[in-house]
């Protein structure tokens, strides 16, 4: 077990805890009154239609967006205040957070420097091999297809070996082969110490690895069930009804 994971579990704190989290943009609510905790190693999938506030929730979990009310902690530390908490988080977003003018290797090297990673070159090389981009290491990200950029963004997300991985529609832009690669990565992340929050509106992809399944509509959680208790066909029907009713 890693030092970070060990220290977190030793303290008994949940991997992530959200307490009464709300986000308002002026008079418009994006996320309303969400409370939950996740234990280390849990895999949560958040389903919801466009505009449900899923991305806003994910951004509050990683500290990129400040909640209007409530607080988020990662391994017991306030995500807004703590460098240690930020070091534990990896976010794969709609945007890649990569510099199009730098090469694949330079992008990863930059992030490795920011995180102060040991054996930087080795880690960057390993990450490039992992996403099958070692042949394109010296090429500008600007020349990459959307799917290749998404793969490199995945390597960036996992480069510092976060214990909380937040994935916002990670399958977007991936071809079937790359999607299979991503599925395999997600499977490997189920190592008992990495907590994953996956946000998607694709029911079949979202149910694959989940331990816990949530439906978010208009900023609220309208369903929260363990995966084992979820019947895929019934879930699809209820999801459609819920989303339809909310719309």
């Amino acid at each position: 077990m890693s030092t970070l994971a060990a220290s977190a579990s030793a303290s008994g704190a949940p991997a992530v805890a959200a307490r009464g989290v709300e986000k308002w943009y002026g008079p418009l609510p994006a996320v309303r009154g969400i409370d939950f905790t996740l234990a280390p190693g849990q895999f949560l999938t958040v389903f919801g239609p466009n505009g449900a506030g899923k991305t806003t929730l994910l951004r509050m979990l990683c500290g990129a967006v400040k909640p209007t009310r409530g607080a988020v902690s990662v391994s017991g530390e306030d995500v807004a205040e703590s460098d240690a908490a930020r070091r534990r988080i990896g976010l794969l977003s709609h945007q890649t957070f990569l510099y199009p003018g730098l090469s694949a290797a330079e992008n990863l090297d930059f992030y490795a420097r920011l995180y102060g990673l040991a054996r930087r070159r080795e880690r960057v090389e390993q990450a490039l091999v992992s996403v099958g981009l070692q042949e394109r290491r010296a090429d500008c990200v600007r020349t990459f297809s959307r799917g290749m950029q998404q793969r490199l963004a995945l390597a960036r997300t996992l480069l510092h070996r976060p214990t909380l991985v937040l994935l916002d529609e990670p399958y977007t832009g991936l071809d079937p082969h790359a999607a299979a690669m991503l599925r395999a990565v997600l499977e490997r992340l189920k190592d008992g110490r990495t907590t994953v929050v996956l946000v998607t509106h694709n029911l079949s992809q979202g149910l694959e690895q989940a331990d816990r399944v949530v439906v978010q509509v208009a900023g609220r959680w309208v369903s929260d069930e363990p995966r084992a208790a979820v019947d895929a066909a019934a879930f699809e029907r209820v999801y459609t009804e819920r989303v339809g009713a909310a719309a």
Binding site: M1, S2, T3, L4, C62, G63, A64, K66, D83, A84, R87, I89, L91, S93, Q95, F97, L98, Y99, G101, L102, E106, F110, Y111, R113, L114, Y115, G116, A118, R119, A127, V129, S130, V131, G132, Q149, A155, H160, R161, P176, H177, A179, A180, M181, R183, A184, V185, E187, R188, D191, L207, E208, V222, S223, E225, A228, A229, V230, A232, A233, A234
Partner: protein, 278 residues
């Protein structure tokens, strides 16, 4: 909340089967991205311990500056636009100034006006490149000291503007028959100190302007009034050196520029974190 009926099947088995079908050697390579359960635990722990210490402040400053300079070395877009602008302004001045006027007596002001506008032109781009693919969000999610981020951007901006100044001074010397030979070390000190203050405020206001819809219009309006003291001392010192006054005549200006730099750098580094907030 809704309760959903259970279905008697094993989703994990489905996933494994699906992965086996689709994933090839690449799947095994992914183990390198994240440590697998069967990896050497002592090596893991050793590496994680080193990671958890994070990057030292100066290493973070260098990482940000290096990245900006690499981007500029690739595109050369700021150097080219600023350099072209500066040369064009010098040409315009060379035609506009009355030949009866002793150019040497106003060259200092002309040079600093040129540097000021060329520099402001490049500052807008400094944060524009952070907005592409939302890279700045990725940087802010990393455990990076906001002061280190500011100083890294400042350092890169300094290097780029100093490179433009290395072009501006010889061009003006050529057009207006100026000579710097006797006062070069003092002139270099004035240029470096004035540029440091200019870039400290410029980097901060560049970040503020990047968050607004009217950023590029707003930047000079916010920046130029606050730069007045730096410009006044830089112009005065440059002017005196160009007309052949001894270095001792500009010591007080150099000291004032140094003092402004310290204040600007301290204040801007301290408040940059607040500027970067959501």
């Amino acid at each position: 909340m809704t309760s959903l009926a259970a279905e008697p099947h094993d989703p994990a088995a489905e996933v494994r089967a699906s992965s086996d079908v689709h994933a090839s050697a690449d799947v095994h390579a992914f183990a390198g991205v994240h440590p697998s359960a069967d990896a050497d635990p002592s090596a893991d722990a050793e590496r994680d311990e080193a990671d958890s210490m994070g990057a030292p402040f100066l290493a973070q400053v260098w990482a940000v500056a290096r990245k900006d300079l690499l981007l500029e070395a690739r595109s050369r877009e700021r150097l080219l636009s600023m350099g072209t602008f500066a040369v064009l302004v010098a040409i315009v001045f060379s035609f506009a100034v009355d030949p009866a006027v002793r150019a040497r007596s106003i060259a200092g002001a002309m040079i600093w006006v040129t540097v000021l506008f060329a520099g402001t032109l490049g500052l807008g781009r400094s944060f524009a490149l952070e907005r592409e693919a939302e890279a700045l969000t990725g940087v802010l999610l990393a455990p990076v000291d906001r002061g280190a981020l500011f100083l890294g951007k400042w350092l890169a901006n300094m290097a780029i503007v100093l490179a433009v100044e290395a072009l501006v001074f010889p061009v003006f010397a050529l057009f207006f028959n100026l000579g710097f030979a006797g006062s070069l070390p003092a002139l270099v000190a004035v240029v470096v100190l004035a540029t440091a203050g200019f870039m400290a405020l410029g980097t901060l206001f560049g970040a503020i302007a990047a968050h607004t819809r009217l950023g590029e219009t707003l930047l000079p309006i916010l920046l130029l009034p606050l730069l007045a003291p730096v410009v006044i001392f830089a112009c005065a010192a440059t002017q005196r050196l160009l007309v052949g006054r001894p270095v001792s005549d500009v010591v007080s200006q150099i000291k004032m520029l140094g003092a402004f730099d310290l204040v600007f750098l301290f204040v801007c580094t301290a408040i940059f974190g607040a500027v970067m907030e959501e």
